[in-house]
Amino acid sequence: MKVKTREDLDKLRQEGLKSLYPDKLKITVGMATCGIATGAKRVFDALADEVEKGKFDVVVSQTGCIGYCQREPLVDILAPGRERIYYKEVTPEKAVQLLDVSVAGEAKEDWALFRMGGEENLIEERTIRYVESQHGTRDNKIPQYKEFPFFEKQVKIALRNCGFIDPERIEEYIAKGGYYVLLKVLTEMGPEEVIEVVKRSGLRGRGGGGFPTGIKWASCRNAHGEPKYIICNADEGDPGAYMDRSVLEGDPHSVIEGMIIGAYAIGSHEGFIYVRNEYPMAIKKLRIALAQAEQYGLLGEDILGTGFHFTIKINRGGGAFVCGESTALMASLEGKVGEPRAKYIHTVERGLWDRPSNLNNVETWANVPPIMARGADWFSSIGTENSKGTKVFSLVGNINNTGLVEVPMGVSLREIIYDIGGGIPDGKRFKAVQTGGPSGGCIPQELIDLPVDFDRLTEAGSMMGSGGMIVMDESACMVDVAKYFVDFLQEESCGKCVPCREGIKRMHEILEDITTGKGKEGDVELLEEIGFILKEGALCALGSTAANPVLSTINYFRQEFDAHIRDKRCPAGVCSELITYSIDPEKCTGCGRCVKACPAEAIVGEKKQPHSLAVEKCIKCGSCFEVCKFDAVIRQ
């Protein structure tokens, strides 16, 4: 069937509503990559097996990532007229028990994470209630979704459907208001009008640079030359970042609908999604979504019967970080080596195959349908003066609640790390947060109240980047952290221009010296000088921002560099060449745990007598330090 009218869409919506909210018990497993990694597939199969046996009359469904990756696999149960209950860390055995309990109308309070009385339909600005009133609300200890600290401060726009719909069912996307926006745009709005809304919304590119999306679209529309291309950058490669993957796995149609709207506004008929091949599930979901959109006439020829045509092809990246840079991405799309070129003539004028090309990243595209549905004023009412809307972050590292969060621009790092992230595990002290990936920087404890938006992060010497947020506690050595990012970059630099190829290599060389006790006076100044060469001289943004992790750590943690260089000491006890282990005879009880743990047989001692550690045999692995229950192992 080809959808041509609102009534056609309504039919699909009815089907979607039936599968979203069936008239019997529905059990849904979070099956994004994060869920699968912790065993969601086994949980799903166990449930499907049980249902196959005919014992239960229930629907088993899958969804994307709701964001709380710390407690996966997550399973939620929705019974007609009752609250939806989310369960954490579900195993196949637990899942089957949950079926039993739920069919009987009960809940497993101990395993539950939170409950939900209804869900938001962001596009249509309404709430879908699972329970009509307090009736049907269980009197129990399970916290409410909106009172659950991880979700309380989140505002979901790009992630609006992630964790709520089956990404393989276009009908469910439509039931949440999807593709109605496209119908409205194609039938009621002119291309310039669309661009005007995007401009007024204040949307800025979510891929890192933060360029105003509406201005980019207008430049591409006004550029001379045909054909024009639309590109979705899904080559997410920052260490610790997986925002785009989650959107593609959980709600691929939001990106596709955004791209079609963009194509209409710009006057393009050909689009590409450049997605890294390391995201096999995202690619699979995208393929299914594209096929469904084509089948219903939402993509391809004569979209929604309006005569507008637009196609999307998937192009898989071969695993080069630099291909996330727009010109390198376009070179790669052309079949050439993925190397950036100078952008003195912008890609909106001469991009892919030298034609006007409009590239936005996954999250930017996913923001487009809500903006068109709810209007520029609604979007620009969220966020700060120059950074509108929300931003998705992947919160990783030394943090209690690892996960994917979407917050309004302008919330503070403290709110993200402590209120949403739940703070630092094991009672340790927060030290720094790395934002913006290898192009970003480390923001220290002193700036924890910094409001997070494009401009403030840049002022602090970091950047928004695509949204990776790596939290570090006191056990992190900042020189070592800087070295990690520089090591990543020297592998991932394309090697074309001298500052990036030679400069990053030399930064790594110096940092390697510093962390192994060979640092000397003047090293920090030399690092800063290379930073200047990179910032001013490099050909592309990968190179010109490559020094940020080093410069920001020097700026905020200079004393740690000095301790390594002057005192040959690593204050955090990370750089193995600079630390020694010994045993405090006063504290040692002679329990022997360290003797068993030591792989180098460096620790000897009689039972119940203080042990001793032979420094010449010690390989500084830290195993003894980890296992000692009496703090008797000293690390200096």
Binding site: E492, C494, K496, V498, R501, G503, K505, G537
Partner: protein, 219 residues
């Protein structure tokens, strides 16, 4: 005709020219390593960086071999910032290729004799001129850059003899450091042999290279 200012001098340039071409046209020298007038520009070496201020007041450093001239542009080819950048670039290149006479001369000219980094023994600076001449002039596509980042190097496919090499010697001719050379009957870059030439080919290539020696270099 476009009017712009380079180092305080008002000059004319044709639409579509680069800043480097406009400067060279009036005899203003800008150092280059990866540029050749017969080939497309790449912007790899960054030595030709200049400071530009647009009519709207935007100031930044750009590669002059790629930046198109525009009306009212103010160009500084030798500001303190530019000298600092070039010295840094030459120090990095000298540490990579301490034995290259060309690199040593250019570095010394900018006051660099001892780089502060560990010395490597490379000859090739990866300017890519050889690859471009092979693609754009010889149309042989016999050699290319392989790998990326610190592992990047110039090689023929599979590190074998280059099947499509026509033996023109263009790569050796444009190589600014002499890293690619004709060694007996072989075109080689370090250990990598691109082509084994016939005696006639050797003679032709040698004549061309000798002719190059006799012509004083520009810029």
């Amino acid at each position: 005709m476009i009017t712009l200012t380079i180092d305080g001098r008002e000059i004319g340039a044709e639409e579509g020219w680069t800043v480097l071409k406009a400067a060279q046209n009036v005899g203003i020298e800008i150092p280059t390593l990866c540029y050749h007038e017969a080939l497309s520009s790449s912007g790899a070496c960054r030595l030709c960086s200049v400071e530009v201020t647009t009519k709207r007041g935007r100031n930044r450093i750009v590669a002059s071999c790629l930046y198109p001239v525009e009306e009212g542009l103010d160009v500084q080819t030798n500001s303190e910032k530019i000298r600092r950048l070039r010295r840094g670039l030459m120090e990095l290149l000298l540490a990579r290729c301490p034995n290259s006479q060309k690199i040593r001369d250019m570095a010394r000219h900018m006051g660099i004799t001892e780089p502060r980094f560990r010395l490597e023994g490379e000859e090739c600076i990866l300017c890519g001129l050889c690859v471009r001449v092979c693609q754009e002039i010889s149309e042989a596509n016999a050699i290319s850059a392989v790998n990326r980042g610190i592992k990047k190097e110039i090689a023929a496919p599979f590190y074998d003899l280059a099947e499509t090499c026509v033996g023109c010697g263009g790569c050796a001719y444009v190589c600014p450091t002499g890293a690619i050379r004709i060694d007996g009957n072989r075109i080689r870059l370090g250990d990598k042999i691109f082509k084994e030439l016939s005696p006639e080919e050797v003679k032709k290539v040698e004549e061309k290279l000798e002719a190059k020696e006799r012509v004083p270099e520009k810029g």
